[in-house]
Point group: C2
Chain length 181, copies 2
């Protein structure tokens, strides 16, 4: 499976494409950052992020898109920008019919380092090792995007089983509701 | 001037189009709500909001789009959804080259009721009066969208003067920098 990981942000939106399956060595297909100028107005920044993400989707044709799930952070201003950039990434993927998965920062850290509270350096080191790269991807947002893609590939079997169980549960509920009418 | 006001939200995104100029009676061109199902996944909800906003832009051809500025609220989950829906509205407008303005809830309340802490009922009552409607627009999100559009029309002269002053200041700074090189 080929996954585009997106570490959303208005100033730097990390993007990384990884190909592989759980249990086999993974390959980096591409990595980069979509940047928008901090002094541009928000509408133009969002349009630039849309164009950047579209370009990555066109060029690397991922089958899945994994986006970092935005949580409350200390800085509310940053949360807004992150939420807005993530909305654009999810919009672009869904418009093309690509499944979007959200992973929390601690899920990503736990997946690639075994420690849900790992620091940036540790994530960068593990991404470099897992993808057999010559140097650590920079900036950190680019490494984080690759970590998201790796996390998605490794978690995919478990997530699929969970989704199947949830779908079966919903179907059972619907049948039960119909039966009691 | 014709303004589309957007009160952003994932479940209910209020939209209202108002035509007029400051100091003259205003006219409501249209009002409604773009809804997305709470149980749909976020990507599909964002695509539905994009389609809804595009339809309003196509149909009513506003010259300006006024979006509520999202602030920290008590419920972080709500803030995220609001920020994401507002990103889609700003994206759609900017892609068409329409100027986007952000107004805070208290600016809107102060503009239409004279009180920055007015409640929903007061805003609904004033919107009904100012647009000479037969009944109060429902739900509250629809009335809020009209209030945003009214606020934008009334604040436009002041905002334009401010933007002109800022542009002049930036130009003066650039000239000063060039002069000292």
């Amino acid at each position: 499976m080929r996954v585009l990981g997106v570490d959303p942000g208005l100033t730097r939106c990390g993007v990384g494409v990884v190909e592989g399956v759980a249990g086999r060595p993974l390959t980096m297909v591409g990595v980069g950052v979509v940047r928008t100028p901090a002094d541009a107005d928000i509408g133009h920044r969002l349009v630039a992020i849309e164009q950047g993400i579209e370009q990555w989707l066109d060029e690397h044709k991922p089958e899945y898109v994994a986006v970092e799930r935005v949580f409350s952070q200390h800085n509310v201003r940053t949360v807004m920008g992150t939420a807005q950039a993530s909305a654009i990434a999810m919009l672009c993927a869904t418009r093309r019919g690509l499944p979007v998965a959200l992973h929390t920062p601690s899920e990503v850290k736990a997946a690639v380092t075994g420690n849900g509270r790992a620091d940036k350096a540790q994530i960068g080191a593990m991404v470099t090792r897992l993808l057999r790269l010559d140097a650590r991807p920079k900036p950190a947002d680019a490494a984080d995007a690759l970590a998201l893609a790796i996390c998605h590939i490794w978690r995919a079997p478990a997530v699929n089983r969970l989704q199947q169980a949830q779908a079966a549960h919903r179907q059972a509920q619907t049948l039960a509701r119909k039966a009691t009418r």
